[in-house]
């Protein structure tokens, strides 16, 4: 079930678009903001609310890599693997992160604390290598710097 608040927010978005299907990305972001990811029932609820088919909502949900269709950890790390960061040491950072967390890309730590994803250019090439943790940008990364940052989440 969509909450009152979500319904209200989605309705506000609907006023901005001609086609209800165009509201789907915003609606999914709103749902994800509440529970961290988008479950099957959320897809159905959004579809029913907007009057579009579940398949259409699912096609949009699975198109955007930042809409999570499976549970993620409490903190989501997006490590940039685009060209500037790659040159500036992405591979070492990846090795460090996966070793430290004991997970591969796209996985969640057993304690549910972190999920690790690769991401395309974060628009912060001047700070490369860079990553986002829960939407907060961290640049000029080194393995040591990563340890310091993650200590703040533990």
């Amino acid at each position: 079930m969509l909450t009152e608040h979500e319904q209200h927010e989605i309705r506000a978005q609907m006023a901005l678009y001609e086609q209800p299907a165009a509201v789907v990305p915003e609606a999914l972001k709103l749902v994800q903001a509440r529970r961290g990811w988008v479950a099957d029932e959320d897809v159905r609820d959004v579809a029913a609310f907007l009057g579009v088919s579940t398949a259409e909502v699912e096609s949009i949900a699975t198109f955007y890599s930042l809409i999570y269709r499976r549970p993620v950890g409490r903190h989501v790390i997006l490590l940039c693997d685009s060209v500037s960061c790659w040159i500036m040491g992405f591979r070492d950072l990846r090795a460090h992160l996966t070793a430290r967390l004991g997970i591969g890309m796209g996985e969640t730590t057993p304690d549910g604390r972190y999920t690790l994803f690769p991401a395309v250019c974060l628009g912060a090439c001047e700070l490369a290598p860079a990553m986002l943790v829960d939407g907060i940008l961290h640049g000029n990364l080194t393995p040591e710097r990563i340890d310091e940052i993650l200590a703040g989440y533990e």
Partner: protein
């Protein structure tokens, strides 16, 4: 006319808003493609159709461009063979094949695969890719369509067909990047009743025919013949395929004016009734029957699902005055009325192609998706095309640029109005969908005829308006109102018909079987299940001394017969059928009947003691004024090409199994066919036969269905050669019988008006016996409006209508007009609509 230079050769072409790919293919040139489809048009997604286009004769470099996205213009210069274009096309295939599993030997598409054909055509013959391939989990899409996603090349044809063209809502492109997935959100039966076309639309083995898969045979081993769908009155053209006495599948056989590229799922998957183990197979002694006939007082009932020839042979046997139409009384009267209304209408009934070209539609009382499904798919195009054409003209988008046109129109539709008691699958494309009881639908029709209201105004503005009604409502008042509206608006008039030869049987002008005297001594029932037609069938049959039933279905009437003569199905018989347009078309035997089974007309001739060829039966039929010209539906049996018949089997070198079959496969000698210009053989004329005789689409290098390109006058256009079918229905023959609007519908306190509900799966008796169709047939339930549902809950309730008493669960349909309920047809022989009662049934017995 324009001149286009292709590799420096001048060609005279008619650009006509066509793109360069269509022009090249129409010229017979081989240019590979994937995402373009003649009915779905272009999106430029696959990049397979690349050519080099030159600015003028001085331009020696040119530029690479997609032929399917470039409009043909006079003086254009292009190259198909430029090494850069050739290399580009080969590299596209190479990339597409990176993730393709190369599993042709176990793929049902193998041997008739567009991807195979295009791979060979581009010369990509070496595999250099050494890495892992992405793999997908497949979905169970129900009993009709198989899913094998690893074979996908992401051409997007499936979703463009299913969603954009057919209006399906549950198939989508999911994911992104190199793992795009074409499927549903979760496993489950595809919802669209036109899902089977995916099998032919998909150029690879992702979507294949699940029913074929259970008795799989490669295309090159199938015996095929030009045939017709027998599951409703539309008359779609089909190509059934057989091997070893088993019908293996039905494929679409392109007919420019009727089915085009698509069939409905009833038509594609209904064929398995032919293989039903319960079919009558043992014949009574014909001499005994002949003895009964000599006792006198004989009557016969013909059938709307039997060919003209079978009906004519029965009529000849029993005499014209003893020949009755094996149709329920109400349906018999309604079909006769519709025929009469069509004959006085100023214009002939529209072909499906003309339906698609309509620019305003009024649909009265009918839900064609469940009665004549292919018509519904055509009507959908009529709703979508006018706004696309308008957007194309305003925004200067070429007519083939499908994605741009759909983007421009979003969900705009043409003037399209529906008035039916129940929701229809076309409501989504209608400007207005009204829920009215049949009498009120009729009143609306008359009001529109009188020019009242905004619907009349919208239809009056149209260039090519169309009015559709039919047997589905069961209401003569609606049919009459539809004819009145069509005449007043200057519109085409289209009536749906229930069976493949309903109109053909009506042309015999025989009284209905209910009018048959009860004291006949011998009754011959040709493919007529009396229990489906008459509530008093049992009493009537008990009175008859000798009941002789000729049928291919195991019906209750067959069980009650004193003598059964098993008849051939459409796949084992030649015959002529008359569709809803009055078009007589011929279907040919796909394979010979075995054992006691014989074609119905042969049984009936044998009972009469005559031996005729099929052409002689047709010629005798053509002597009746209503059937004049009917023999023109197809060439006569002695027709030969270079002295040879047309082989039903692919030529000897077409595939592995057949190549040395004359040496190492021991099969019975091929039976002769005295009744048609086709042969049960691989040997014969190997070129293109006339359209009505084309048993399969195949051309060198083109093994898939898309070899069709080579059989058309231009891609997407009519087949080369004569048009198929002859029109039997006269038009504009006189004044319209004046109908008057019925009084407004009044709900009654003491009774409910039961309306008929047809379903694409289950309402038609032949296809209902196919396992795939049976699996999708909904469990019978009575639909009631919100008030009744609130009172009675989910049931069960007891329905009393006429003499029938039925106990049924309830289903809610909130939009139903108050005072009505909707009863699935076929549960009882009572004519619907009919008043009856509804009581809360025995809850716990």
């Amino acid at each position: 006319m324009a001149t286009i230079y292709i590799d420096n050769e001048p060609y005279t072409v008619e650009p006509n808003g066509r793109n360069l790919l269509e022009v090249c293919l129409s010229l017979g040139l081989d240019l590979p493609y994937f995402c373009w489809h003649p009915a779905l048009k272009s999106v430029g997604a696959c990049r397979q159709c690349a050519v080099i286009l030159f600015r003028d004769e001085n331009d020696t470099r040119g530029r690479l461009t997609m032929a399917c996205m470039t409009a043909a213009r006079d003086g254009m210069r292009l190259s198909l063979t430029d090494p850069r274009a050739v290399a580009f096309r080969a590299s596209i295939i190479e990339w597409l094949m990176v993730n393709h599993p190369h599993d042709c030997p176990v793929c049902d598409e193998g041997g008739e695969c567009h991807l195979q054909d295009m791979t060979v055509m581009t010369g990509h013959v070496r595999r250099d890719y050494r890495f892992d391939k992405r793999t997908h989990r497949n979905q169970n899409l129900g009993p009709l369509v198989n899913h094998e996603m690893n074979r996908c090349i992401a051409c997007y044809r499936c979703v463009r067909y299913y969603r954009d063209y057919a209006g399906g809502r549950d198939l989508q492109a999911l994911g992104w990047h190199d793992h795009v997935y074409f499927g549903r959100m979760e496993d489950g039966t595809l919802e669209s009743p036109f899902s089977g076309n995916l099998v032919e639309v998909c150029p690879t083995g992702v979507f294949t025919d699940k029913t074929l898969g259970r008795h799989y045979t490669r295309k090159w081993d199938l015996q095929t013949a030009p045939s017709l769908c027998v599951h409703c009155g539309v008359g779609c053209n089909t190509m059934p395929g057989e091997r070893y006495g088993l019908l293996r599948r039905v494929q679409n056989r392109f007919h420019h004016e009727i089915n085009g590229y698509f069939l409905c799922d009833r038509g594609r998957y209904g064929y398995e009734f032919v293989n039903d183990a319960a079919r009558p197979r043992v014949a009574a002694d014909p001499d005994t029957v002949r003895g009964w006939l000599s006792e006198g007082r004989v009557a016969g009932a013909g059938s709307p699902r039997a060919s003209l020839e079978a009906n004519a042979a029965l009529r000849a046997l029993v005499g014209a005055e003893n020949f009755y139409a094996g149709v329920a009384p109400a349906e018999h009267a309604l079909v006769a009325l519709m025929r009469a209304l069509l004959e006085v209408h100023p214009t002939p009934p529209p072909s499906l192609r003309e339906v698609e070209e309509a620019d305003a539609v009024l649909l009265l009382g009918e839900d064609p998706t469940h009665t004549t499904p292919r018509l519904a798919l055509a009507l959908r195009q009529a709703a979508l095309r006018p706004p696309m054409a308008a957007a194309g003209a305003t925004l200067k988008i070429p007519p083939f640029d499908d994605a741009a046109l759909r983007e421009a129109v979003q969900d705009a539709t043409a003037p399209f109005f529906i008035a039916t008691p129940q929701a229809t699958a076309l409501d989504g494309v209608a400007m207005q969908a009204l829920r009215l009881a049949p009498d009120d639908v009729a009143r609306l029709g008359y009001a529109i005829a009188a020019g009242e209201g905004e619907i009349a105004a919208a239809l009056r503005n149209a260039q090519r308006p169309l009015v559709v009604a039919g047997f589905g409502s069961g209401s003569p008042a609606v049919a009459q109102a539809a004819a009145a509206a069509a005449r007043a608006l200057g519109a085409r008039l289209c009536f749906t018909l229930p069976a493949c030869n309903s109109l053909g049987l009506a042309l015999f002008d025989a009284p209905g079987v209910a009018d048959m005297p009860r004291d006949v001594k011998t009754l011959i029932l040709l493919e007529t299940d009396l229990f489906r037609l008459l509530p008093d069938a049992e009493a009537r049959l008990r009175k008859v001394k000798h009941v002789v039933v000729l049928d291919c279905l195991a019906t209750p009437t067959v069980a009650a017969a004193h003598a059964v003569l098993p008849t051939a199905t459409f796949a084992e018989a030649d015959g002529t059928l008359v569709n809803y347009e009055g078009r007589a078309q011929r279907h040919f035997r796909v394979f010979p009947a075995t054992g006691d089974v014989r074609e119905a007309w042969q049984w009936l001739d044998a009972l009469r003691g005559v031996t005729r060829t099929f052409d002689e039966v047709t010629a005798a039929l053509a002597a009746l004024p209503a059937f004049a010209g009917v023999e023109g539906a197809a060439p006569r049996a002695e027709f030969r090409l270079l002295g040879q018949p047309v082989p039903r089997q692919p030529h000897r070198t077409s595939g592995r199994t057949a190549v040395t079959a004359n040496v190492d496969v021991h099969e019975p000698t091929t039976p002769p066919d005295p009744d048609s210009p086709l042969a049960f053989s691989m040997e014969g004329y190997q070129g293109h036969p006339p359209a009505p005789l084309t048993p399969r689409f195949w051309a060198p290098g083109w093994n898939s269905q898309q070899a069709l390109n080579k059989f058309q006058q231009e891609v997407g256009g009519p087949l080369v050669g004569r048009p198929t079918g002859v029109h039997l229905l006269p038009v504009n023959t006189g004044a319209v019988p004046a109908g008057t609007p019925p009084p407004p519908f009044q709900p009654r306190a003491d009774a409910v008006l039961f309306l008929p509900a047809h379903h694409i799966f289950g309402s038609e008796p032949l296809s209902a016996r196919a396992p795939g169709i049976a699996a999708l047939t909904p469990a019978p339930a009575l639909a009631v409006g919100a008030a009744l549902y609130a009172r009675l809950g989910g049931g069960p309730v007891e329905v009393r209508v006429g003499d029938a008493v039925l106990t049924l669960p309830l289903r809610e349909d909130p939009a139903l007009p108050v005072g009505t309920a909707v009863l699935p047809v076929g549960l009882c022989a009572e004519a619907l609509p009919a008043w009856g009662t509804l009581t809360g049934g025995p809850r716990d017995a």
